[in-house]
């Protein structure tokens, strides 16, 4: 049915709430974002489904998105009517029978429980959702250290509602901000509200969203476009994937409000091809939104019309840049062009176009619903709201972390992430992907906001935080990022195309033990030139990983160049592959780890590596508990 009035919307809301809070039967939802599926969530879903069928039980089984605590996946939500929502963790298909048996008897399998939710504020819903009280042995979700410092604004529905069911989105207040915008607000009032919120672009640069909208609003044109940039290309960043997979309607609603505010009638969602599930869920969400009258002609009975098309990027990092993205949607190779003219003046097919990142759009419905003032109270001055970070790498508890802007790095890495895995020491974090930089532990009290990170030579970027420990080589890391940007440089401008390649060659030499002392200076000189002379953001930021590692970890460069030694034992050409007799504890772990039988070892004897057979795969170094292989 097409929703035309508030009454229609409320009717669907009631229907959706009945699904989420059904009072007559137990409700189970399996976390099935890409990460949940990869850890076996799909097998758990199948097993639960089969068990329910075999036992002929009246239990509701649905999908949900990702709750963000990725290292505990697969997650399963279980709810008995009137009782708290319980989140089970590390569930396997073998647990299915026990879960169903317990649920059928009005219980939850407490031994599998990670946490419980008694009430939940979806922010866009006027009242909080009350599940009920109980299960005194299970901790509340925000009592566990991983979630304690977090604040869920963008991830307000993720892992709770079914992303493939528009009625569950409407149930938690979905599309009510759109209704408010279309019936109670003028376009200028919306832009004013977004300005008041202080929201800044979440793609990385942090440009004020309201201001950006006011530029395109001023343009006169027969047609204007809005675009959602879902081309999350930074390696090590995946929050946009989760936002798209777990709550696609939130993004569509944000785009609708933005389109109304700036006078656009067509929109595009641009998603990278590596995210097939996000594409699939968007396709479903767009179809449902059309069916319910949120996309198409005369939306919600007003004279506002808008529709959305979906385009997938066939694999090119540079297409995250606005002008390259536009070229790609037009079906051309995605090469950036000089600005001005900015997309707000001449964008897609030469028409005024506004591009925002996925997470920027996510914030729009809640800003309109709760007001710009409410939003500006979160975070710190000039850096309002929250940011979702993907906390990954050598961290104990990896996952998606949403915190108010201005939260110190230390809180994110230690309080939430639990420090380094395997009892090692954290050495640094890398933020902002190939355009960002590394931050050493000595600077971990730095608040994470746009200005402070920039001061350190890093950037916020889209929100990847990769933790590095003592076994990560910083020269190798810098080389890794340059290899990435060399490959992804579109080749249009010389400083980026040729300069980055030269920098890569120097780093490659250093990691192979052929570095010379003047290399560090040459790297710095090249870096400065490339930053100043490149055409687009890719080249202007690509030297950052090298500059920050040179600044904070110069000793590692020196060890590679002067002593021909890789302190972290990463650079293969600088490892001798010899066993240090004084350190070896004769445990034989290296002997069994070697895939080619190159290690001689007998009980009670020091291992010997046969260099003719050795393929330098480092399997022995990985397993050696005392670091005896040098």
């Amino acid at each position: 049915m097409k929703i035309k009035t508030l009454e229609d919307l409320n009717k669907i809301k009631e229907k959706g709430l009945n699904k989420l809070l059904s009072s007559d039967k137990p409700h189970i939802a399996v976390g099935l974002a890409s990460c949940g599926i990869a850890t076996g969530g799909d097998r758990v879903f199948k097993a639960l489904e089969d068990t329910i069928k075999a036992k002929k039980l009246d239990v509701e089984l649905t999908k949900t998105g990702c709750f963000g605590i990725c290292h505990e996946e697969p997650l399963v939500n279980v709810r008995i009517p009137g009782k708290p929502l319980v989140i089970l963790h590390k569930v396997t298909e073998n647990d299915a029978e026990k879960i169903i048996d317990d649920v059928a008897n009005g219980k939850v399998p407490e031994e599998k429980a990670l946490c419980k939710i008694e009430e939940w504020d979806h922010l866009t819903l006027d009242e909080t959702v009350n599940y009920g009280k109980g299960y005194s042995n299970i901790p509340l979700w925000n009592e566990i250290p991983y979630f304690k410092p977090q604040k869920k604004v963008v991830l307000r529905d993720a892992g709770i509602i079914n992303p493939e069911d528009i009625e569950e989105y409407i149930a938690v207040g979905g599309y009510s901000a759109l209704y408010k915008a279309l019936t109670e607000m003028t376009p200028d009032e919306i832009i004013e509200e977004v300005k008041k919120s202080g929201l800044r672009g979440r793609g990385g640069a942090g440009f004020p969203t309201g201001l950006k909208w006011s530029f395109i609003k001023k343009e006169k044109s027969d047609i204007k476009y809005v675009i959602c940039n879902g081309d999350e290309g930074d390696p090590g960043a995946y929050m946009n994937r989760n936002e798209m997979e777990s709550d696609p309607h939130m993004i569509i609603e944000g785009m609708l409000i933005g389109a109304y505010a700036v006078g656009a009638t067509e929109g595009y969602i641009y998603v990278r091809a590596e995210y097939p599930l996000a594409i699939e869920r968007f396709r479903k969400a767009i179809d449902q939104a059309r069916e319910y009258g949120f996309l198409g002609e005369n939306i919600l009975g007003t004279d506002f019309s808008f529709d959305i098309g979906l385009v997938s990027n066939a694999g090119a990092f540079v297409c995250g840049e606005e002008t390259a993205l536009i070229a790609s949607i037009e079906g051309k190779p995605g090469r950036p062009r000089p600005r001005p003219p900015f997309p707000a003046q001449k964008g897609l097919w030469g028409k005024p176009t506004n591009i925002n990142n996925v997470e920027t759009w996510c914030n729009i419905p809640v800003i309109i619903k709760k007001g710009g003032d409410w939003f500006s109270q979160i975070g710190i001055e000039k850096n309002t709201g929250t940011k979702v970070f993907s906390l990954v790498g050598k961290v104990k508890k990896a996952g998606l972390v949403e915190v108010p802007l201005g939260t110190p790095v230390r809180t994110i890495v230690y309080d939430i992430g639990g420090g380094a895995a395997k009892n090692r020491k954290v050495k640094a974090v890398q933020t902002g992907g190939p355009s960002g930089g590394t931050i050493p532990t000595s600077l971990f009290d730095t608040p994470v906001d746009y200005e402070h990170l920039k001061e350190l030579g890093a950037i916020m970027g889209s929100g990847g935080i990769v933790v590095m420990d003592e076994k990560t080589c910083m020269v190798d890391t810098a080389k890794y990022f340059l290899n990435f940007t060399v490959d992804e440089s579109c080749g249009k401008c010389v400083p980026c195309r040729e300069g980055l390649k030269r920098m890569y060659d120097i780093l490659d030499r250093i990691t192979k033990g052929k570095g010379e002392e003047e290399d560090m200076e040459t790297l710095e000189e090249l870096a400065t030139t490339i930053k100043e002379a490149s055409l687009c953001g890719l080249g202007q930021t690509a030297p950052n990983p090298v500059l920050t590692t040179l600044k904070y970890f110069r000793d590692e460069y020196e060890a590679h160049i002067k002593e021909k030694r890789c302190p972290a034992h990463v650079c293969v050409d600088l490892i001798k592959f010899e066993v240090n007799k004084d350190k070896c504890i004769k445990c034989g772990l290296c002997y069994s780890a070697c895939p080619v039988g190159a290690i001689d070892w007998k009980k009670g004897k020091t291992s010997i590596i046969n260099k003719d057979k050795c393929i330098k795969c480092k399997a022995c170094i990985e397993v050696c508990p005392v670091g005896a292989i040098e």
Binding site: A38, R241, G309
Partner: protein, 164 residues
């Protein structure tokens, strides 16, 4: 590629947006690569120079111009995977599959295919499954927390036989 199927794909995209890319992506998905005769057909049918299609096919990493193996193994080389050992996974895969390491094909892409065409090995930028790094993907299925030692077990599920 069958004419009929090609026609279906070409006709599916009657919108102006992403038309060419959409068509090429569908052909790539169906065939695993972009066959020359299919590109010539699209070029003639849509009146687009073949050079433009070639430009797209070589710019975007999703496309291949050469046939690939029956099973596609992709090692993720995102940052989280890199620091947790993705380079070692590539090295071990090259050894297990007995493909020449470090080579790129003539279209400038890293795609190594075994002699019997049962496997192709390549690398990806990031799957966005960073929490379970390092990650590999075989025919769309993701295997997290991979180590070189786990690889033979995974490969065997796709019919790989260890050479003695």
């Amino acid at each position: 590629m069958e004419k009929e199927e090609l026609n279906k794909i070409v006709n599916k995209y009657d919108t102006k947006s992403g038309k060419l890319l959409g068509i090429l992506e569908d052909i790539q998905r169906n065939e695993g690569y972009l066959p020359k005769d299919a590109l010539i057909y699209v070029s003639k049918h849509l009146n687009v120079p073949l050079s433009k299609l070639y430009s797209l096919a070589t710019f975007y990493s999703f496309f291949n111009l050469k046939p690939v193996g029956k099973h596609i193994i992709t090692v993720c080389t995102g940052t989280a995977c890199h620091v947790r050992g993705a380079p070692l996974l590539i090295k071990e895969m090259e050894r297990l599959l007995n493909v020449q390491p470090g080579e790129t094909t003539s279209d400038g892409k890293f795609m190594l295919t075994t002699k019997d065409r049962s496997f192709s090995l390549n690398a990806a930028r990031c799957f966005g499954c960073c929490s379970m790094a390092p990650v590999i993907r075989v025919d769309g299925k993701i295997y997290g927390y991979s180590t070189p030692r786990k690889l033979p077990e995974i490969l065997k599920r796709y019919g790989w036989i260890e050479e003695k």
